[in-house]
């Protein structure tokens, strides 16, 4: 039996209450002050980081851990039958692989000699890295920022680069004791200074919300008068970037076209990382040190 509208308030002993409209004005003023303060300074960062660390991060880590454990358990039950057959096949394959390995080792020695010849700088494969798991994505559908489960206690700091499966994912914009927030390169207001690997021409890579459904991000300001840059060329982070370490793969050129000024080119880029299916990432434990320079708001 459905009740009527709930308009009977019983509490006769109710004390005097501040009407809601004063509360909303007070809360609005407080929010505006907070917005202005956080926009201009970093005064409140410590309070909010530890607060989030105590209240929310444990839940998110717990939920992710439980979800991961359940998924693993279900998978192991499914795989039990086929594992025995696979084992026998793998043993024979192992012998073949061992002989291949010795050939590859010889080739790797030759590669490092050739790299020295061309004076290629230290590749990012030799930077010290640590793995982290993504525990939460932002609640909106388009910021493409996410939280990982390592923070300042694990040696992470703001502006450290984050990579996954060999490509650039983004950089850390905020750290707490046991968590960090990562802003990805496909974020609409993210900018990365990149360069085309084959021709060493610099360009600016930007995220774009309108393009992501097609799986692409845009680039601009490519100075390439001979038209040497073609589809499929690799784009890596540039030496002139002040937040990103050089040589990290960003993606592959998809299309280019000349700008109206007839000097620069722009176009679209396919990122190397699949952002829809990110689960674990690697954080490079080295920030780029630029002496005597102010950090800009969007990483360049």
């Amino acid at each position: 039996m459905s009740q009527g509208p709930n308009i009977e308030k019983i509490d006769k002993e109710e004390k005097f209450q501040i009407p809601a409209k004063y509360w909303i004005l007070f809360i609005s003023a407080l929010c505006v002050i907070l917005i202005v303060v956080t926009f201009n300074t970093a005064a409140l960062d410590g309070v909010t980081d530890t607060g989030a660390g105590y209240v929310v991060i444990p839940f998110q880590e717990g939920v992710t851990a439980v979800g991961g454990a359940l998924r693993q358990h279900a998978q192991s039950v499914k795989e039990l039958r086929s594992l025995r057959e696979e084992n026998a096949a793998l043993r024979s394959e192992l012998d073949d692989v061992k002989s291949e390995l010795s050939v590859l080792q010889q080739q790797s020695y030759e590669l490092s000699r050739l790299q020295e010849l061309y004076r290629v700088d230290q590749q990012y494969v030799s930077y010290e890295k640590t793995g982290a798991r993504i525990i939460a994505k932002d609640p909106g559908n388009w910021y493409h920022t996410f939280l990982i489960d390592k923070g300042s206690d694990d040696g992470l700091a703001v502006d450290m680069n984050v990579i996954a499966s060999g490509g650039l994912v983004g950089r850390i914009t905020k750290t707490g004791p046991g968590w960090s927030r990562v802003e990805s390169i496909i974020n609409d207001n993210a900018n990365v200074a990149g360069c085309v690997l084959s021709t060493q021409d610099d360009l600016m890579v930007s995220g774009d919300l309108t393009l992501y459904s097609e799986g692409m991000i845009r680039f601009s300001q490519l100075v390439d008068s001979e038209g040497a840059v073609v589809e499929g060329d690799k784009v890596v982070t540039s030496r002139i970037s002040d937040k990103y370490l050089p040589g990290i793969l960003i993606g592959y050129i998809s299309t280019t076209h000349r700008d109206y000024n007839n000097i620069t080119r722009s176009g679209y880029l396919i990122p190397a990382v699949d952002f829809e299916h990110l689960d674990t990432v690697l954080v490079i434990l080295r920030t780029k040190d630029i002496p005597d320079e102010e950090e800009t708001e969007s990483g360049k």
């Binding site: 009740q3 509208p5 019983i10 809601a20 991060i57």
Partner: protein, 180 residues
């Protein structure tokens, strides 16, 4: 005392929705969009508990978002607090069991919230993609939120009826006569 307990229960509901939305639902992406459970929670709870409680719960939900994700502290808090306030003004003029009006309110709040996010995140940087944004981001999210609201709102109204609602005069008289 009851109001304080109701607020605590409301905060717990908001926290659970926040954790579900950010940690649990990121894996499932049928339409690659997730429903905005926080909007559903804030609108429903402010419909049940009134505008003052709505302001507080909205502020709490917004602070959770801002601390963990938002670029600026206070941005989401402001949006959600106003959502809670305006929806809380509708308390007392509708049937709790009715589904259509609360869902309509949830949809409108979701649209306004998304549009405000668009204004501050994109328009102020001169990225005028309003048409694209509405069709490709806001509409799918509203559809997802509607489907989730059909499930979540009745659950919350059951919670409210069993746990949080104060007994009406007729119910109290009935209980007294039963005990006598």
């Amino acid at each position: 005392m009851k109001r304080f307990v109701n607020l605590l229960i409301g905060m717990l509901v908001v926290l659970v929705c926040f954790v579900i939305q950010t940690a649990v639902l990121r894996g499932s992406s049928i339409l690659s969009f997730r429903p905005n459970l926080l909007i559903i929670a804030v609108v429903s709870l402010s419909l049940f508990l009134g505008d003052s409680a709505g302001i507080f719960l909205g502020f709490f939900a917004g602070i959770l978002c801002d601390v963990c994700f938002g670029p600026l502290l206070g941005f989401h808090a402001l949006l959600f607090a106003w959502t809670g306030y305006l929806c809380g003004r509708f308390t007392g003029i509708l049937f709790i069991e009715d589904l259509k009006f609360p869902l309509l309110l949830i949809e409108v709040s979701d649209f306004v919230y998304c549009f405000c996010c668009y204004i501050f995140e994109f328009m102020f940087r001169a990225r005028m993609i309003a048409g694209f944004f509405i069709t490709n981001c806001i509409i799918p999210e509203m559809v997802c939120t509607l489907l989730a609201g059909v499930v979540v709102y009745p659950l919350l109204s059951i919670l409210y009826r069993k746990v949080m609602r104060e007994k009406t005069e007729s119910q109290k008289r009935q209980e007294r006569s039963e005990h006598a």
